[in-house]
Symmetry: C2
Subunit: 157 residues, 2 copies
DNA sequence: TCAATTCATACTAAATTACTCGGATTTCAT
DNA sequence: ATGAAATCCGAGTAATTTAGTATGAATTGA
């Protein structure tokens, strides 16, 4: 029940783009460095995301990638589906074009997997990139608690 | 986000044993036939289930397998963990012994996967083999609705 | 014009999957 | 006792997937 690195790394990259949303295009190189990923591998992942219409590219020098929509309007579910295909613990309960076996309508285990699929999709579709950014901001605040002063410090990059 | 056939087939086999619970030991051969699975492959899967204490074996002629506990006391979650290992969409949120990366405590995508893991575990741990048997009985009833008589027929094997 | 970038395709080593195969061992039934 | 029915065990293997790397062409701002 594992995600491949495609979904894992791809989400990291999209989160990185979300954190820089509203500025210039972000080159993959910097995404790869910040998230500690292979740039060449990321290229392949972002190609899928581009084809799915989740990011836009700007070619040439000073080019890079920007989210195709604002972070609040892109869900983790869309990202994962673009990278890994339809959510499905087993083939016969794929969200689109399921390959049903001949016992499909009385196969009980199939119902279990359909429930798992719905539960996964429910979580992924309920989280947007904006949610992740908010979470990151919250954590950053916590981490900058100043133990010497015994109080909160302002984040000032 | 796929389950391997281990979990998929293994659950089918356990469900089959559950439907025959309380009788003689069930040989793998018959399980394999009913569930349409390779007997040799099932042997490997059931070995894991036995080592996990979920089934008991009876060796020799007229031998076979029986559930180690009644179907109501065995959850799908236990079965899947025995066959596939700890539930974890990504390594860093494994239920036991997670391999955390150095950014573990401020990695936001990690939190997403932890929520997915909990959601999957929640579903799997909430379904017992007895639940599946009840579901099967319900469906069988529905399927034997007699459209000619316009009423329900009794199941009489 | 050059350096930074995206874009596209092909290749590959390693791991995993989904089995098969062969045989040893145990035990019931006759 | 013997044979058939079973579990048990470990090795082997073809196909697929994974997680990249390699190479180079095309695009574009400074």
């Amino acid at each position: 029940m594992r995600l491949s690195t495609r979904g894992h790394y791809g989400l990291k990259a999209m989160f990185d783009l979300a954190q820089h949303y509203g500025t210039e295009p972000i080159p993959l190189k910097s995404v790869a460095e910040r998230q500690n990923l292979s740039e060449h591998y990321l290229e392949q992942l972002i190609a899928r995301l581009r084809k799915a219409g989740l990011v836009k590219s700007v070619r040439g020098a000073q080019g890079g990638y920007i989210l195709a929509r604002e972070p609040g309007k892109i869900t983790v579910g869309e990202i994962i589906r673009a990278l890994e295909g339809p959510i499905a613990p087993v083939e016969c309960v794929k969200e689109v074009d399921p390959k049903e076996c001949d016992q499909a309508d009385y196969c009980i285990s199939r119902m279990v997997w359909a429930r798992v699929r719905d539960s996964i999709a429910g979580v992924l579709d309920s989280i947007s990139l904006a949610d992740m950014c908010r979470e990151a901001a919250k954590i950053h605040q916590t981490k900058s608690f100043d133990h010497n002063r015994g109080g909160w410090t302002l984040y000032d990059p």
